[in-house]
Amino acid sequence: MKLHEYQSKALLAMYGLLVPHGGLAGTPAEARHVAERLAGPCVVKAQVYAGGRGKGGGIRVVHTPHEAETAAAAMLGTRLVTPQTGPQGLPVHHVLVEEALDIDRELYLGITIDSGTESVVVVASRAGGTDIETVAHDHPELILRQVVDPVVGFQAFQGRRLAIDMGLPASMARSLAGQMLALYNLFMAKDCSLAEINPLVVTTDDRVVALDAKLTIDDDALFRHEDLAALRDWDQFDPLEARAAKAGIAYVKLDGDVGCLVNGAGLAMATMDTIKAAGFSPANFLDVGGGADPQRVAMATDIILQDPSVKRILVNVFGGIARCDDIARGIVQAIPQERRALPMVVRLLGTNLEEGKAIFRASGLNVRFVNSLLEAIEALQALTVP
């Protein structure tokens, strides 16, 4: 689960990291008030679940409270489009107004879990302020890593080593190591899957400040962080994805026209690959999840149908536990009268297969049954879209 920048920074501050002075504003007037309080040049930053905001006009440097108000007015209530949001952008309901700092260097600091070493790793780079994946690709030597021993946790010496290897003077290594330890403590305490400060800046007066911050909490650990779980901002999701997520369905909107309904993430991806192999493009990724009970199947079907691009549907439920009649009932129930002609290729495996087929046949839906992925490819190719 992503957190907004302002939420991430509040946690950073709680764990002892320096963040710029500032305040959250939901209206242009509030933005002006924050800027008045800060008394100096400020930065107005749109709060959305995406990076690349600078390129989309979501970060503005302002010099007066009036400018802050104007900048906030230009952002609030709009949808911000950045290289990471897709063309529809994300809604801006809040802006963060912060003091502008005099920056000497921009560093990168990130913590994540590395499956190779099965450990938490702290990643740092002197090349902060830019896209870290680009740095990793173009200048891998600038990406420094320290693997954390789970017995003792992150150690100060590792922080000093990262600081020195980033080219910082030894005199600053200790304080930077302290900031890294603080971020590590936050990462562990809040079950983060990613904690990223980019850039972590060194100011001209040698303070180390988190200029931006991005925390992602491990969804699987939210059961022990009810306070954080409550922070999820559903407005930042595609409405269909949000609806699916609330129902426990993994759904990702894509740009093709073949809707697909599958159980299991791996099989769902394989089904998308199969759609592509047939010469089409998937309209979505959809994993209806374990059990595939009728209500969930109906909900999943409805979500697929809400996407206006969908011209045909491929159902691929590999049961064993799943009852085919339940699945058929769920789908039939969810398809409204006016969409009954939508061509569907259905591949079911499980108990009560014949009963399921009978329900489909009785429904009047435009269904073609197949027994394998190979047949599904052929069936998709043979479809005539009305």
Binding site: I113, S115, D191, G266, M269, A270, T271, A277, F318, I321
Partner: protein, 292 residues
Amino acid sequence: MSILVNKDTRLLVQGITGAQGQFHTAQMLAYGSNIVAGATPGRGGRTLFDRVPVFDEVEEAVARTGANASILFVPAPSAADAILETADAGLKLIICITEGVPALDMVKVLHVLREKDVTLIGPNCPGVISPGEWCRAGIMPLDIHLPGRIGVASRSGTLTYEAVHQLTQAGIGQSTCIGIGGDQLVGTGFVDALALFQEDPETDAVVLIGEIGGVKEQHAAEFVKARGFTKPLFVVVAGQTAPPGKRMGHAGAIITGKAALASSKIAALQEAGATIIPGPAYIGETVKQGLR
């Protein structure tokens, strides 16, 4: 023969009194698995299915029944505790079906298990089945497997079933099928699975089903290149059409960086000498031709 589980496996089911635990225990018994005990804290003392005694503690279950492997259907918040309890009781094979175990729990648990030389399959996996041994320690459908000499290893549940189904339809039997689990951190990776299949005289070849995300397939490729696995290897990688930066269900199935792309994985495995299956629809066909 087979790897990991066989006729001598004496299986303990943890979380046996839950809905999923009971359902799959019935299925495993129906398949022929030798389930000797169940365990659920606070629910000990009863007997399920007229033959499976339930204990409060794993230690007691092991002491009383000689269980030598365990399959876990416990809630995700208790999974780390249950795995550690099982390892503490001396079992060397733990199969964790549970989905949604926090990643930081697994960082710690895996560190302990590596010290104790315990094999963990999963978490978030469909388990292990050795069809020729009639041992199913998992949740896979009962009727898709065929005893034979091909190993299957996969990160996904239903995609494993799909692969097995295609193999069986093509008349190709399986020695053991392992779902290693969809999470970023799992106990047994592709490399471990390949190493086991390499040593198994009754496995002739392996079908490996990869996915986008992570570097597990690259590790497998390195292992093969280093001659750790020398039998025929057939590979399909799902998610070739998944767009970057989007989370696709599984915790691990998100593309970040080039290594995570299906194309990078396929290239690495091809370079290592594996036969690349052109797509998920062609698993049975490709393996059948390749084994001729």
